[in-house]
């Protein structure tokens, strides 16, 4: 299933919800699979912080956190699952 999910996400941007529906997997279980893919270097987590210190103390914190986009990004050059 992980390989089928990986093939699906490599085909284009999708959502955890869409994948959950398509593969009949609980969203939380899918999160677990994505964490596994992170460990394997197949995907990378999206980090909303752009500074090493994180968002604390940043004067643009408000604007950035208005758009809390979270998820994962497929890494380049990883063909072997």
């Amino acid at each position: 299933m992980i390989r089928r999910i990986l093939a699906e996400i490599r085909a284009g941007t999708t959502t955890v919800q869409e994948l959950s529906r398509k593969f009949g997997v609980e969203e939380s279980a899918l999160q677990g699979m994505l964490k596994f893919m992170v460990h394997k270097g197949l995907v990378r987590e999206l980090h909303p912080e752009c500074r090493p210190k994180g968002c604390k103390g940043c004067r643009n914190q408000r604007e950035c956190q208005d758009w809390p986009i979270t998820g994962y990004e497929v890494t380049r050059g990883q063909d072997q699952a």
Binding site: M1, R21, E26, A29, L46
Partner: protein
């Protein structure tokens, strides 16, 4: 088992599964806290006495699995393999059963005697999930106790089941079958483990599985020689054979088959309750429309269009009131100062410079507040994340990087934080590209320009015209990015997997707070930067002394006159139009503030001057120029900080050229067509 023996149970579970609540409910005040040996991970222990028997409870760190990826996982695993507790109470979040059972599966593989505390049963029910407890017990071969730890439900039953260990050890649970291919390799490896490590015979299958998965701790044990050499040979042979047969990495195959098994368990032991399933289906149906390939973008565009319609229909009467107020304020200030025999320059400074400049921007506060209100509503409801997803898919189709849309959407508010947000992009090339096109996203500072001009030239289609300007910004950003990508950055783009927040009804307080914070920033800017700039513009329009205020002979008039010929092909070759665009480089709101200071504010005849000097075509061209040409000083500084002078020069240069070209094209080509 001896009736009086003191037994030890471990409490394992995923983070947020309610493990701590179970621990507290089981042990109440009888707890002690320390650290696990050699690490700074907190170790909590507690005790409880049930029917005269004492049980020690060790709270393991919250983990999702028993792999060697994190320190918590290592601590939990070392304890379970070395100290071998009498039982492991696996706390499972019933509302996230499939994921939580992953840890249970690994505990069973380890051979641990497991008791499942199926916690948060109330949450699971509220989400429409019914779990067949008896079936789950049979499928996994372990005891399952439903609990709601936060309310103390099921705790006594759990204590009873744990107490029963004094009499009978819990069953070891049912093993997972990984299919003939992996099971074959696993059997060979298990034998090799038994031969190499006689002290690990009991958990030989577990170690064999860990070796097969490439577990770093297990592999580290192969560092010795002698027996380890033989085991290493078997491992290499089995792994190579399996990878060839499966056509993939063995670890991935093991993990996906484990998840496959659990998926089957959940399907077999749960069912969706009809009423709640209907509610969930509604949310899914909404998503089916708003995030679909066909309807996603039209819905997004429709909402944008509706937003601008509302900004004008609801904002216009309020803006008229503010306009009337500033008109009255200017007149009253002039009368009071004249009556007090104040010098003419002071009257002019306050009425034409300050009130005219700042007032001409503040007139649009009602429209901007309504815009922020709608944006806050969309954000709070969970729609904006969907919009971002829809936009990303669209941009992806054009070959742009998936994550670039985040800074671009932030750019609708202000380009400065949007440019800084490009730091979230790992690739330098992606960052450069996104920084370069970000100023094309129409920030809220451009809105006063749009409102002013549409109010004079497009009174019936104000919302539609502003909508086209926002849309133009997006289209231009996409096209320019595509061009730059082709010229400067040739590379593949990576797709995203986004997590969409659940839909919910926005709260009044939260929406108002969001709206107020943004609107206040706008008003504060009007009271500081714009007020100061208005005074400066007044001064330049009044010098040299004795010249007619804001005439072509003033310093500002002469400076504007130098640039005006360049703007003539666009249909607005006036010195004051050139000056207003130049002032907009400091802050885009200054375009309107400058026009207001020069022509005496909206109430002071600015609208009449504009309607005499512009045509609808040149007015649209002017708005496009305001959207596209040179980013404001703060944005330029941000671009410089994030890139270097060459890219900054390109960002400034390409926007000036593009803005001018578009304005000229609109006026010239539009003139031929009309």
């Amino acid at each position: 088992m001896s009736a009086k023996r003191k037994i030890e149970v471990a409490l394992a579970g995923n983070p947020n599964s309610g493990k701590t609540s179970i621990f507290n409910a089981l042990t109440r005040a009888k707890q002690s806290v320390g650290n696990w040996p050699g690490v700074t991970v907190e170790r909590k222990e507690g005790r409880f006495v049930f029917e005269g028997h004492e049980t020690k409870v060790v709270d393991l760190p919250g983990t999702y699995a028993l792999d060697a990826y994190t320190l918590d996982e290592r601590v939990a695993r070392d304890y379970l393999t070395c100290e071998k507790p009498d039982a492991v109470v696996a706390v499972v979040d019933a509302s996230n059963l499939e994921r939580n059972l992953y840890l249970v599966a690994q505990l069973l593989e380890l051979g641990a005697p497991v008791i499942i505390a199926l916690n948060m049963m109330d949450v699971a029910r509220s989400r429409g999930l019914e779990i067949d407890i008896d079936r789950l017990e049979k499928v996994l071969g372990v005891k399952v106790v439903p609990t709601v730890a936060s309310k103390g439900v099921g705790i006594e039953r759990l204590q009873q089941v744990v107490h029963d260990i004094h009499r009978d050890a819990p069953p070891p649970g049912l093993p997972i079958s990984y299919g003939d291919d992996i099971e074959g390799g696993l059997a060979q490896l298990t034998e090799a483990v038994r031969a190499a490590w006689p002290d690990r015979t009991e958990g030989a299958r577990w170690w064999a599985l860990k070796l097969l998965e490439g577990d770093s701790d297990a592999l580290a044990l192969l560092a010795g020689d002698g027996a380890e050499n033989a085991l290493r040979e078997v491992l290499d042979k089995v792994r190579t054979g399996l990878e060839k047969h499966i056509g993939a990495d063995v670890e991935t195959a093991v993990v996906e088959r484990r998840y496959g098994f659990l998926n089957g368990v959940v399907r077999e032991c749960t069912r969706r309750l009809p009423g709640v399933a209907g509610r969930l289906a509604t949310s899914e149906n909404i998503d089916w429309v708003v995030t679909s390939r066909w309807f996603g973008i039209p819905v997004f565009l429709l909402l944008m269009w509706g937003t601008f319609q509302l900004v004008f229909t609801a904002g216009a009467p309020l803006a008229d009131i503010v306009d009337t107020f500033f008109g009255w304020l200017g007149g009253a200030t002039g009368s009071v100062l004249s009556a007090a025999r104040a010098p003419d320059w002071l009257v002019s400074l306050l009425t034409e410079g300050l009130i005219g400049g700042v007032g001409s921007v503040l007139v649009f506060v009602p429209n901007i507040v309504i815009l922020f209100l709608v944006i806050s509503l969309l954000e709070e409801s969970g729609y904006m994340a969907r919009a971002a997803f829809v936009m990303d898919r669209f941009m992806h189709l054009l070959g742009l990087h998936g994550k670039s849309f985040i800074p671009m959407i932030i750019g609708f508010g202000c380009n400065v934080p949007a440019i800084m947000a490009t730091r979230t992009l790992e690739s330098r090339k992606d960052r450069m590209l996104t920084v370069l096109v970000n100023p094309l996203m129409s920030c809220s500072a451009r809105l006063p320009v749009y409102i002013l001009f549409t109010g004079v030239f497009f009174t019936r289609q104000r919302g539609l015209v502003v909508f086209t300007l926002y849309l133009l910004g997006i289209v231009l950003a996409v096209l320019v990015a595509r061009l730059f990508k082709r010229v400067f950055f040739k590379q593949e783009v990576a797709p995203l997997i986004m997590e969409l927040p659940p839909y919910h009804l926005p709260t009044f307080r939260s929406v108002l707070t969001h709206m107020w914070e943004r609107a206040w920033l706008f008003v504060r800017k009007a009271g500081t930067v714009i007020a100061l700039a208005s005074v400066l513009i007044w001064l330049l329009a009044s010098l040299p002394w004795g010249v007619e205020y804001a005439s072509e002979s003033s310093i500002i008039g002469r400076l504007g006159g130098l640039v005006a010929p360049i703007l003539k092909p666009a249909g607005f070759g006036y010195w004051w139009a050139a000056v207003s665009l130049a002032a907009g480089v400091v802050a885009k709101e200054l375009v309107v503030a400058t026009l207001g200071a020069i022509h005496g504010g909206v109430a002071g005849g600015l609208n009449q001057v504009l309607s005499r000097s512009f045509t609808p075509l040149s007015a649209y061209g002017f708005m496009v120029m305001s959207l596209v040409y040179i980013p404001c000083v703060a944005s330029v500084a941000a671009i410089w900080r994030e890139t270097n002078w060459r890219w900054t020069a390109l960002a400034v240069g390409h926007t000036i050229v593009l803005g001018w070209l578009l304005a000229v094209l609109i006026y010239q080509v539009g003139g031929l067509l009309t």
